[in-house]
Symmetry: none
DNA sequence: CATGAATGAGCTTTCATTCAT
DNA sequence: CATGAATGAAAGCTCATTCAT
């Protein structure tokens, strides 16, 4: 029933979502939400099936009605994350704006996403793919899509040299900012927001803007 | 290198004694090496005492002769890593060189270190401190020391603005480059070395060099 | 008896269901019984979850479905014991009988209980409370209740002096008798029953009866 | 006090016992002392070889030079305890005193011993013999000797009935008093010393005194 | 007389997962 | 659609004990 179609297309979130009455219904949704919360609170390792289930108010067994196994659950989470990021970037991508403003907006949106969705960011970019039983690589395509949006915005600035490389460099900077902030590894004397401002400015300069 | 001599002052690696059974007094070294390897292969959680011991050819109990507990083992690893990085940076820090060359050298050394010591890099910068039982914060001082070296090299380039922030921005870029490479999340069409070159160049430009 | 119905209200022991594998819902009961037996055989420390489980024919893990942890299991045992003793004393407390007969009956019942329920007696009175992770003190209230029954029966005999002290003295005698018998520390040339008779008689005389 | 000869008569531990300088010498003595202290602090179970050794400042291995195994150590402790009790009773046994005073003195000495040597008392009378690998029963002979002293003192009071039984009854009372006190199971509203007085008085009355 | 290094058995506990209902 | 009962594997750790030195 709707609630996040098992795999592909249309509806984001929950579509019709009529029955939320109390028990049954979109359990899948609630499981994912609980899992996401656990993820950020206790980290990947301590995301246990039992706890997720308990938080939602069902038995651990119930999870297996909706997900093949723990990895499947994580994969679904990654999917969601990818989609969420895509939406976030799309929403703040002002194609009509002047190139510099557009790119700056995208950068800020990216950082904003990472910082305010640490759970997603973690599984999307921090989890070593080798360490979770094979996340189907085609799923990463959506990730590439996001990168392409950046490439598109970066393009106007790159006169000489490979635009792809330039994009990647920017991407690295953004990733560095986000992940160090998430890990609490940024000097505590730095004001996070102020630093973000400066880092983005420098990021643009890096591209020659 | 880096070794971290605790008992045997002399030879780092494993001396001559190739012994495995009793008598292998350099067991500590071998345990650390095995643990480091496990860490990068399976991650923090799945670095198990049993596996580490087995890989070295001893019982799990034997580990406890050299390390108080799992955390102690990890901490020792971090210590080693910190020292190794410090040495690596020190070795390639040509203070006498022109500012630009010096900074570029440091950046390259940093990336080189991260890429060729994934085990160390991971525990040093990717592990959430909250998630491993408190690593004595004073140990992080060495980390700050490394950052300060960068700050020192960055200084000449920053005419206006906070040099600390500039340094951190560069640090973020470097961290992004390393961690994405380690996670295999960099576009496969990119030549790693070439990209490193370009990224470093852009990094310098970011600072106004 | 005493049973401690938690799930199945009816039959104590093990009902009809002799089942061992799945389905044996009275596993809790069987675990408690096994634990009790282990306790008297090997003592508190060597009462291991593994052994208890094995004796019953399940995995150690299964215990944790019924008891939070080892202490929880022990506590449940104490509870049962307290209840059993209370019932035993109540059953043989003939309030209507002449004071001497009543008190004598209680003494005999107490000894009888201790001697024929060594497992219970041990955890109830021989275990140092400091040495088992805090048994909720309110649970000891039932113990006091038993003592009060004795105090009530002792009262008529104590003309002068503190009845509480007299009761405790009697209690000490009874405890001494039971625990030395349980530990096999009573001279083997003594006939246990005969000795009990005499000791009780002397106990009453101790009170002035 | 001779240091407790290893087994039988002649040479006590170290013979001349000259060197107590610092390290070596009467290690055996110090081990026993440490063990006894551990016993009372952490209980029988947590009396570990390692801890005992550490407390004394030697390796666990060193213990095995002086004791066959853990049981042997405990046995030695029991021996000491028996001897200590014997000495304590002997010291306070005023054979010349009037019967009542003599017996009362013995009772008090016994209680005093138990209460102030909980470590000894525990292993001597509270440890189930079945649970420690066979303590040579002949060692218990010394225990019997102590009992006989009581029997001797009790004798004058027993006009009718078996004096042995009477003695045992008294013994039970004393044991009850001591063990309940040690276990902290005596009503906290009772003043220990006062109670001891009363209990002893009643104990004598129990014998007809 | 004593150590340092190591073992092997065992402990409690937790986890993902399954199966019958 | 969901549960309750159970499993098997594994984890971190501790203990008594031994052996070579």
């Amino acid at each position: 029933m709707a609630a996040r179609p098992t795999k592909k297309p249309a509806a984001p979130g929950r579509t019709a979502s009529r029955s939320v009455g109390r028990g049954g219904a979109d359990l899948r949704r609630r499981l994912l939400d609980a899992a996401r919360r656990q993820l950020v609170q206790h980290g990947y390792v301590h995301l246990t099936m039992r706890r997720v289930a308990a938080r939602v108010g069902v038995t651990a067994t119930a999870i297996y009605l909706h997900f093949k196994d723990k990895d499947d659950l994580i994969h679904a989470l990654i999917d969601e994350g990818m989609e969420a990021l895509q939406l976030a970037l799309e929403a703040s991508d002002e194609r009509a704006a002047p190139p510099r403003a557009r790119l700056e907006g995208l950068c800020r949106a990216m950082i904003e996403f990472g910082v305010s969705n640490p759970e997603y960011y973690e599984i999307m970019f921090l989890l070593h793919p080798q360490r979770m039983s094979r996340y189907p690589t085609d799923k990463y395509r959506r990730a590439r899509h996001n990168l392409e949006r950046f490439a598109d915005a970066v393009d106007p600035f790159v006169k000489k040299g490979d635009p792809l490389m330039a994009t990647h460099a920017l991407w690295c900077l953004l990733h560095g900012i986000i992940s160090l902030r998430l890990a609490g590894r940024l000097d505590s004397s730095l004001d996070p927001d102020e630093f973000t401002d400066e880092a983005v400015t420098r990021g643009l300069r890096m591209l020659g803007a």
